[in-house]
Symmetry: C2
Subunit: 194 residues, 2 copies
């Protein structure tokens, strides 16, 4: 997606060969106009998938998910992150390991908001190792619901999450795939659609 890639080039900050900071429009400050385009693009790509609900994780996934939900006319559920296990029969729970932060968090979704009839689009801000998506998939499976695919704002193409998910047959649509952050420079994977 052209507007997104231009924004990444303009405002993204390459902190290391693996860390891209996009706090100015996605992870802390939200560029509302850009996130509207992002959400609408997810809606366009998955418009024929019969989606009944969007599932994301707080907090950075909420703005693009909201806009996709608004466009598709479906509700958005954001999974909550939790540090510690509190046993609660009303929740679907999954563990998500962050290789960056070297910690495992629980994510949880109330059983009230996912049902076996749901056809769910997962949306998240970043895809690196794919652990967050796997956690959301676990929750969807627990609910007996179906996943129709995954919409990602920025995929780190040099990490293995995207390949791992696609190898499982999961449809993953990333609006920007960063091929490399080497030498402080963002290089996109070029075969992806704009």
């Amino acid at each position: 997606m052209k507007e997104l890639k231009e924004k990444i080039i303009l405002e993204g900050s390459v902190l290391s060969d693996t860390v891209l900071k996009v706090d100015s429009f996605l992870n802390h400050q939200i560029d509302a106009d850009l996130m509207k385009l992002v959400g609408e693009e997810f809606a366009r790509q998955f418009q024929d998938a019969g989606i009944t609900k969007i599932l994301t994780i707080e907090s950075s996934g909420i703005a693009p998910s909201f806009m996709a939900g608004l466009t598709l006319g479906v509700p958005v559920v954001f999974a909550r992150k939790r540090k510690s296990l509190t046993l609660n029969k009303q929740l679907y729970v999954a563990n998500v390991h962050s290789f960056t932060k070297k910690e495992t968090n629980e994510i949880c979704v109330s059983k009230d908001f996912l049902s076996a009839d749901d056809r769910i689009l997962i949306i998240d801000d970043f895809l690196a190792n794919g652990q967050a998506v796997l956690g959301l998939m676990d929750i969807i499976a627990e609910a007996g619901a179906s996943s129709v695919g995954v919409g990602i704002v920025i995929e780190k193409g040099f990490q293995d999450g995207g390949r791992m998910l696609r190898d499982k047959g999961i449809r993953v649509e990333s609006l920007a795939i960063v091929q490399s952050l080497e030498n402080g420079k963002v290089t996109f994977r070029e075969e992806e659609q704009d």
Copy 2:
């Protein structure tokens, strides 16, 4: 706001005389159509205030803030919640005490995203004791920026945050003011505009 009050009556769950659960459209699942109306209503009420930025707190404030920001054509910044103090000169930090959870959290905003020129609208999902708004006001003051007022989705009119803020001369616009949750029933304060 009529649509919001109807949704609260229809789906809100009164857990006690002080706790109203609205997980089905605001705090966990997001009703995108309703949050669009909510955000647009904040934008309408503050359209002449010269707003340059919207400030909220993750996570439930993000959807209505995003929609207000989109309508007003300004960016949205969401303050991050943190459990522990990590000294960081790049952050504005404030403490927010939750009487409900009996804990104090830090909220923080990067210095990159607030400046002395900013005229800021605060938006939050709930107003009870007003501690979150005071924390956001502290951060705005630290940045030397101006606050033009506060937009609240649901105010608990039986707690003292709304009066405390209005007594300070702060403009507070709440789209629904709950006067009482007694006997398991939601009663709205009726003098408020619909």
